[in-house]
């Protein structure tokens, strides 16, 4: 397949060079996918540790003195966090067509929903800390470390989204030809949402099975 002045020339001609029109998957996309893969493995290890300690512990789980986790608040949190991916998708589609307004609105909406999630998690910790803490027993350690580690990821995701919002408000940052960063943040945010579902199942639903 010799290509002398064919496809390559088309992709490297004067116009293409000034804009670097996206052709194929960019390196940033692959980088983010690999990063999310390794992060997902990290969560898998944490959730695996939860089940390992649980099944090694004995029949009563959570241990005596700790009630089964209540479901109302985590379900509300789920109902806020999981749909928060929708504005991100809407914003990403928008900027792919060069619509900056949609990018800004979508990011602002997600920022709001994610922050609400973190505030709710804060109030949940406030309630739980009366019952048990990180140092009470292995159950407490697992509960706070797994949910806290996820909360940290939400915080990092929100920082990214805030950063995108600021960059897009400045202008001259994103458009139909340049939105790799938007796509990468979107991948990360979808990941943070998806992991929450696994955590909801493990921490909140599985003790009731």
């Amino acid at each position: 397949m010799t290509d002398r002045g064919g496809v390559v020339a088309a992709a490297t001609g004067a116009e293409a060079l000034t804009t670097e029109l996206p052709v194929g998957r960019p390196t940033g996309w692959w980088g983010m996918v690999m990063f999310v893969a390794t992060e997902a493995t990290l969560f898998a290890c944490l959730l695996g540790s939860y089940f390992y300690l649980r099944f090694q512990y004995g029949p009563q789980w959570p241990p005596p003195g700790i009630e089964d986790p209540t479901l109302l608040k985590p379900l509300v949190m789920t109902a806020i966090l999981v749909p928060s991916s929708l504005p991100v998708m809407w914003a990403e589609r928008g900027i792919r067509h060069g619509q900056r307004r949609r990018l800004r609105l979508g990011m602002a909406a997600t920022l709001l929903m994610g922050t609400t999630f973190l505030l709710l998690q804060g109030t949940e910790y406030d309630e739980k800390l009366h019952m048990f803490s990180l140092t009470t027993n292995a159950y407490g350690s697992l509960f706070y470390v797994i949910t806290g580690f996820h909360g940290l990821h939400v915080l990092v995701g929100l920082t990214m989204i805030g950063w995108l919002l600021v960059a897009s408000l400045r202008g001259g940052s994103f458009g139909a030809h340049r939105h790799d960063r938007v796509r990468n943040v979107a991948i990360y945010w979808h990941f943070v949402d998806t992991v929450w579902v696994a955590i909801l199942f493990t921490i909140y639903l599985s003790p009731r099975l």
């Binding site: 496809v7 980088g31 292995a138 001259g172 960063r181």
Partner: protein, 642 residues
């Protein structure tokens, strides 16, 4: 600065001038700290890992001196504990993997016909983190606060009640810190190999070394999180009173072992796999033919990297797990010898069918095969649960893994050093000195470690700082110590050989070995832009293939010269069809600043200066935000509609 090959036909003088202008970095202190050139970073990885290897080796020499005779008092038990822990930890984490990543950094872009790695700044960042994490861990030794619990740091001996002081905090934080570098490097290798291959280098033309590095990188992606989880939980247990490994509060000590070996066994292959890749890269030049069974070797590499995740329990045969799980892991551990065997037989067939050129790199490859097969043989013995339970925690195990790791990693690394030294430095090494180094190293290796099989079977446990004189181990221990000094002398000869080559060696031609892969079509050392013309690859052995060679001379086209700006070519993942030319990043201080902020964070966590740690996190976030901040462009270029 280099012995160039002259102006290649097909490339104009003005093209070369433009390429130099865009890619060359000035020789200044500033340039030293800001470089993003994969060749410089690769060499730094090699030198730094070599330095940590020397420290860990000197530690081993001190331990062998202590063990030369019974009840010696060269080292106190506490010092001995710290030395053997740092020896293992540094050899595994600070030498083997970074050394092979150094080869990868230098070679992968050259072998696939690219001008740099996919993420050059991330690459620089990875190096600085590796350097800082290594110094972070070694710096604890003079304070008597080095890790002291063995390289696998079993619970409950690693908890704060049984092991007070900073020792295991250094271990947990140091490895978490280092993990950032390893993960960044792995992602970079995968993306580089997927997107930056020269046009025409479809997956079935990718050099075996690159396959090995990519398979290793995938293992890192999926194995390292287990170690990171383990160390994070350990630090939380020790510092903040969590109970993951504390059975009195519902924790479980075996959780540590499971997580550790879910990482740890793939890690054996993370270390050995790129070294096997070096073997596959060295052989064609010295057998004058391609490696036999290329598709089989690729399949073996992929199979090993998958099966390696299913064998971890064979490190835990003595922990009282259910018998059924032993059977499964015993079977998996037996199966994994098949793809390893395929590679060995492919190399033997290559040597049998080829015409041998007996130079130092080939000698080290032959030394590798002999030693590694012996290590693999004792490995197959461990896959049998009953035998494993008899010799576990004895010197037999120490003998086994030194045969595997010295045989499987150090021999190929030494072969690689001699093989690529002309490419890296532009100088030839002294062949006589290299042969002396080989024979001393080979002898020293077997004199040191073979007796360990014996006194392991005679009952000597590993990790004891001394032993009584009436147990029948004295003579064999002395033999091991003599071997260790032989090893030290041989490695000193290697060092002298490298320094001699750099200082006095005769200039190396571009292709001293008549090698088959693309790095030999660049100058020695390569120009800052690697390739004046990015080649169009037509076969698995591009440097032996006339059409590929022609594509960079008379067949050079503008779309592969790319001399306007600092640019390289993206191609499609599977078939390497050209996609577009992309601009590569310029030198920058940001990677160094980011790594420095992380160093402050980890030191602050270690010493419990939490406000400083919070400030360091803010500095990390600010640096990343500035690093990735988009440059302002006109709306027409961005394509903005509203």
């Amino acid at each position: 600065m280099s012995t160039t090959t002259g102006t290649p036909p097909g490339v104009g003088r003005d093209d070369l001038e433009r390429l130099t202008e865009h890619w060359e970095e000035p020789r200044s202190l500033r340039a030293w700290f800001t470089t993003v050139d994969h060749k410089k970073i690769g060499r730094r990885y090699l030198v730094t890992a070599g330095f940590f290897f020397a420290l860990a080796g000197l530690g081993a020499l001190t331990m062998r001196t202590q063990l030369a005779r019974p009840e010696a008092e060269v080292l106190s038990p506490q010092e001995y504990n710290q030395l053997f822990t740092m020896h293992g930890t540094a050899m595994i984490f600070l030498f083997a993997t970074p050394m092979l990543f150094g080869f990868g950094n230098f070679l992968v872009p050259l072998m696939i016909g690219s001008r740099d790695m996919a993420f050059p700044r991330l690459n620089a960042f990875g190096y600085w983190v590796f350097l800082f994490a290594g110094l972070f861990m070694w710096a604890s030794l003079p304070f008597g606060a080095a890790p002291n619990n063995g390289w696998f740091a079993y619970a409950p001996l690693n908890d704060v009640r049984n092991n007070p002081g900073l020792h295991m905090d250094v271990y947990a934080l140091g490895l978490l810190f280092l993990g950032i570098s390893t993960t960044a490097g792995a992602i970079n290798f995968i993306v580089t190999a997927l997107k930056l291959r020269a046009p025409g280098m479809s997956l079935n033309r990718v050099p075996l070394f690159v396959w090995a590095i990519v398979a290793t990188a995938f293992m890192v992606i999926f194995a390292l999180p287990a170690l990171n989880t383990d160390n994070a939980l350990l630090f939380l247990d020790r510092r903040f009173g969590a109970h993951f490994f504390d059975p009195s509060h519902g924790g479980n000590v075996l959780l540590w072992q499971h997580l550790f070996w879910i990482f740890g066994h793939p890690d054996v292959y993370i270390i050995v796999m790129p070294a096997l890749g070096i073997v596959s890269a060295v052989l064609p030049a010295f057998t004058r033919r391609g490696v036999v069974g290329y598709p089989l070797i690729v399949l073996a590499i992929v199979a090993i990297s998958i099966i390696s995740f299913g064998v971890w329990v064979h490190h835990m045969f003595a922990t009282g797990l259910p018998q059924l799980s032993y059977s499964f892991f015993s079977a998996a551990s037996t199966i994994i010898t098949i793809p390893s065997g395929i590679q060995i037989f492919a190399w033997l067939a290559t040597m049998l069918l080829g015409r041998l050129v007996l130079r130092a790199p080939l000698l080290f490859v032959i030394g590798f095969i002999v030693t590694f097969v012996l290590g693999g043989f004792t490995g197959a013995m461990f896959a049998l649960t009953a035998f494993d339970q008899q010799v576990t925690d004895s010197y037999f195990v120490v003998a086994h893994f030194h045969y595997v790791l010295v045989g499987g990693a150090v021999f190929p690394i030494l072969a690689g050093i001699y093989y690529w030294l002309p490419k890296m430095t532009g100088r030839m090494y002294h062949e006589g000195l290299a042969r002396w180094a080989f024979w001393l190293f080979f002898t020293g290796m077997h004199v040191t470690f073979f007796p360990m099989h014996l006194y392991g079977l005679f009952g000597m446990p590993r990790r004891v700082y001394t032993y009584r004189g009436d147990l029948g181990w004295n003579g064999w221990n002395l033999v091991s110590t003599i071997g260790a000094y032989l090893l030290a002398v041989s490695l000193l000869l290697v060092l002298i050989g490298v320094v001699h080559a750099v200082r006095r060696g005769r200039p190396a031609p571009a292709d001293p070995w008549d090698g088959d892969s693309l790095e030999w079509s660049t100058a020695s050392p390569p120009e800052p832009y690697n390739f004046p013309v990015i080649p169009q690859v037509h076969s698995l052995h591009p440097a032996w293939d006339e059409r590929t060679v022609e594509s960079t001379s008379s067949g050079a086209t503008e779309d592969r010269i790319l001399s306007h700006g600092r640019r390289t070519l993206f191609t499609s993942e599977l078939d390497a069809r050209p996609e577009r030319a992309v601009r590569m990043p310029e030198p920058t201080f940001k990677p160094l600043v980011l790594a420095g902020a992380l160093l402050v964070f980890f030191v602050a966590m270690l010493l419990a200066w939490y406000p400083v740690a919070v400030a360091a996190v803010a500095a990390v976030a600010a640096t990343v935000a500035a690093w990735l901040w988009p440059t302002r462009r006109p709306d027409e270029e961005l394509g903005v509609a509203s």
